[in-house]
């Protein structure tokens, strides 16, 4: 078979993304139709920059969704090595294709003769399952600590701010090298950190609900019990490793919903750890700014509890800057994940995530470009999309 020409490659790649295009079309048409009723989200569609950014972001979100759950877009297995396909240029016919195999390596093969296109697509599933979730956890930590630091001030603030500045004074890469090595993983330190960080979302939710409903015990008690049972179940499922003989091996295996592979968990923790001090500082600054407003004083006069004021008066009123920062921070988390992969830390070397793929690809970069360029442009477009989306959101939220 002849190798494909560039035009054929582009057409075939675009066709491969068909489910993504369809989903994007549905989202866009639906959102445009109900734009007026969708609040801030609907207003993204008023700014061309925001819309373009949003398109890039949901493109990768849908790609990750279809590739991760339905195994759709990728043409080959991301890990299998095929003899005769090593470093082949884009559009090379698949050597030894049988019936049912996709007949081409659309974006060529890498140094280990794996399909670059499929690895790029599968990589998006890894990146997009870690980065947004890690940012969300970082937010739980940052908000739960930043609100009281800004609201109470004093010693709590001094102590927490010192801690945050301490972490921020570390060069990110040194921190990664200290946290994400097999030796440190063997000591179990990342697991202790996971145990600390993962408790924050539960604490946050419980305090959130309790501060609002503590006057209505009939609502409060069932609500908090359900949150606690579900939260703790997920919590122990996440941190416990049944049958591995570590200190977290106490949770009964029957109740263990899932086991996160060690590498993923450590990478996750590292990203949360690096992100949360910055979120803490942002949250603290916003709280300091807002706590002098009249509606806070009114709530204080009404005799509301401190946590009610923080979570139900201050937090909703600073959501604008927080949403914008959330988008930027997912982008930053993506960059951090890539950095980890670039230095070969955390995830196993054969993992198709973009950072690791760039790391393997860069070694032969001056001869074979395609193995490193495909993930590089993917990462770039996702981060760019998030930045543009944040820009559009900021512009639109400043309009009123």
């Amino acid at each position: 078979m002849e190798p494909l020409s560039w035009i054929e490659i582009i057409v075939r790649v675009l066709y491969q993304f068909l489910p993504v295009w369809l989903s994007m079309a549905v989202v866009f048409i639906g959102s445009m139709a109900f734009k007026k009723r969708l609040g801030l989200y609907g207003r993204i569609f008023d700014s061309p920059i925001g819309m373009f950014g949003f398109a890039l972001v949901i493109f990768w979100a849908f790609t990750a969704f279809y590739a991760g759950f339905f195994d759709l877009i990728a043409t080959h297995d991301a890990l299998s090595q095929v003899s005769g396909m090593k470093n082949k240029s884009p559009g090379t016919p698949y050597a030894g294709a049988e019936a049912g195999d996709y007949p081409y390596y659309l974006l060529g093969g890498d140094t280990l003769a794996r399909d670059v296109f499929s690895r790029m697509v599968k990589g998006s599933a890894i990146v997009l399952s870690i980065a947004p979730l890690a940012t969300l956890f970082g937010y739980c930590v940052g908000i739960t600590l930043g609100l009281p630091a800004g609201y109470y001030g004093g010693r709590v603030d001094t102590f927490l701010s010192f801690l945050a500045n301490l972490i921020l004074a570390f060069p990110v890469i040194l921190l990664f090298y200290l946290l994400v090595t097999p030796e440190i993983i063997a000591t179990g330190i990342p697991m202790y950190m996971a145990a600390v960080f993962f408790i924050f979302p539960i604490v946050f939710l419980v305090v959130l609900l309790n501060s609002r409903y503590h006057v209505l015990p009939k609502v409060r008690t069932p609500l908090i019990s359900i949150t606690l049972i579900l939260g703790l179940w997920l919590y122990f499922s996440t941190i416990s490793e049944s049958g591995r003989g570590t200190w977290v091996d106490f949770w009964p295996g029957a109740l263990d919903l899932f086991n996160i592979p060690g590498g993923v968990l450590v990478v996750f923790i590292a990203v949360v750890f690096v992100n949360s001090p910055t979120i803490f500082r942002i949250m603290r600054g916003l709280t300091l700014d807002v706590k002098t407003r009249d509606y806070v004083a009114a709530a204080q006069t009404r005799g509301e509890t401190a946590w009610y004021i923080m979570l139900w008066e201050i937090l909703p009123n600073v959501r604008g800057p927080l949403i914008v920062d959330f988008c930027l921070r997912i982008g930053y988390a993506t960059i951090l994940l890539g950095t980890l992969g670039f230095f070969g830390l955390g995830l196993p070397p054969e993992s198709p995530d973009w950072g690791s793929t760039i790391n393997t690809g860069r070694k032969l970069l001056s001869v074979y470009l395609h193995p490193a360029l495909a993930p590089a442009f993917s990462l770039l477009s996702l981060v760019l999309g998030l930045n543009l989306l944040a820009d559009g959101l900021r512009e639109e939220s400043l309009k009123d």
């Binding site: 060069p171 040194l174 090298y177 590089a376 442009f377 770039l380």
Partner: protein, 348 residues
């Protein structure tokens, strides 16, 4: 002002102590020591051999004592090894155990001994730091003028076509991490397959003999990210100044647009970017690590990666002390500089 600087210096020292202790703690955990023993001694050592190797070299004593020794507030150890040899912390460089000084830590100016380079840490450290300083200086010389010009041009007429295109450019570059821009730059300018072949994809030679050909790409890789970021900050500050009352007054008086920008707006618009530029230096440090790894330029960032990879304890501690000092002193400089540049703060 004096009190302010003194307090900041105090916080700086406490931060540095905490940080180095964290690094010390992490690098002295047993699995890390085991790795050190195996790379320094022999990869096929049994568990007992590793334990005696570490015992003989004083690695297995309590953490706080070892940290004190490193600092120079606790006398250095003298251990009579099971192999009959007596080793002392202060006699690591081959001098006689009996003549070795009692204290040898950072306070005495002894930065320890690099287990990987077989040299005193400080010697390696200063050499590599010099190389990186040169790289960062070149990057800053490129970044600052370009970023300021882009930011001012974009910010002086908000919403114009120049603004749109320059802002898009700065968002694009600030959204590109170094390992992506480096890879793209190598692909375009250095690849032997399809690229333009203008520059070299490796900067190893630039360490001794920096030329346009081998040094452009690393400098550009570091600069691009900061250019985007600083340009965005400059643009924001410029647009704010351009809507100020005194600019409107000047315009109504009939001052030409060029004069408004150069004489009235520029000076006030540059206060905020100053802080951003100074605070950008610690971020450059992260960029430097990636860029040096990508272009194989053996500077400070390369040293960090190497010593972390080999668990070279003394070297890593040296590296972290230096980076902490850089981060905290840039923060201090930016705060002080801001006060001097902004008369409103000085008066209040």
């Amino acid at each position: 002002m004096g009190m302010f600087i003194l307090r900041r210096l105090g916080v700086m020292i406490i931060t540095a102590l905490c940080l180095t202790f964290v690094v010390f703690f992490m690098t002295n955990l047993y699995p890390n020591l085991e790795k050190l023993a195996k790379t320094q001694g022999n990869f096929r050592m049994s568990e007992e051999q590793v334990a005696t190797w570490l015992d003989n070299r004083g690695y297995t004593r309590p953490m706080l004592v070892k940290y004190g020794e490193w600092l120079g507030v606790v006398p250095g150890f003298v251990v009579e090894g099971t192999d009959g040899e007596t080793r002392a912390r202060c006699a690591r460089l081959g001098s006689d155990v009996a003549e070795a000084p009692r204290f040898c830590g950072v306070l005495q100016g002894d930065w320890g001994y690099s287990s990987q380079f077989k040299e005193p840490s400080s010697k390696v450290l200063w050499k590599r730091l010099g190389l990186t300083g040169f790289l960062m200086l070149c990057a800053l010389i490129l970044t600052i003028p370009v970023a300021l010009v882009i930011g001012i041009l974009a910010g002086m007429r908000e919403g114009s076509k120049t603004d749109r295109s320059l802002s898009t450019f700065s968002i694009l570059t600030s959204a590109t991490p170094e390992y992506v821009s480096g890879v793209v730059l190598i692909a375009v300018f250095a690849s032997s397959a399809v690229g333009l072949k203008w520059f070299k994809g490796s900067a190893t030679k630039a360490m001794t003999d920096a030329s346009f050909e081998n040094f452009t790409l690393p400098v550009l890789t570091i600069a691009l990210f900061s250019i985007g970021y600083i340009a965005r900050m400059t643009r924001a500050s410029m647009t704010e100044v351009m809507t100020a009352q005194y600019i409107r007054t000047a315009r109504l008086k009939g001052v030409s647009f060029q004069n408004i920008v150069v004489k009235h707006a520029l000076r006030n618009a540059l206060i905020a970017p100053f802080t951003v530029i100074v605070l950008q230096i610690p971020y450059l440090l992260t960029g430097v690590v990636i860029t040096e790894t990508l272009f194989n330029y053996k500077g400070f960032g390369w040293l960090l990666v190497q010593s972390a990879g080999n668990n070279d304890i003394d070297m890593l501690l040296g590296v972290s002390v230096i980076s902490v000092v850089i981060v905290l002193s840039t923060q201090l400089i930016s705060d002080i500089g801001y006060v001097f540049l902004n008369p409103r703060i000085r008066i209040s």
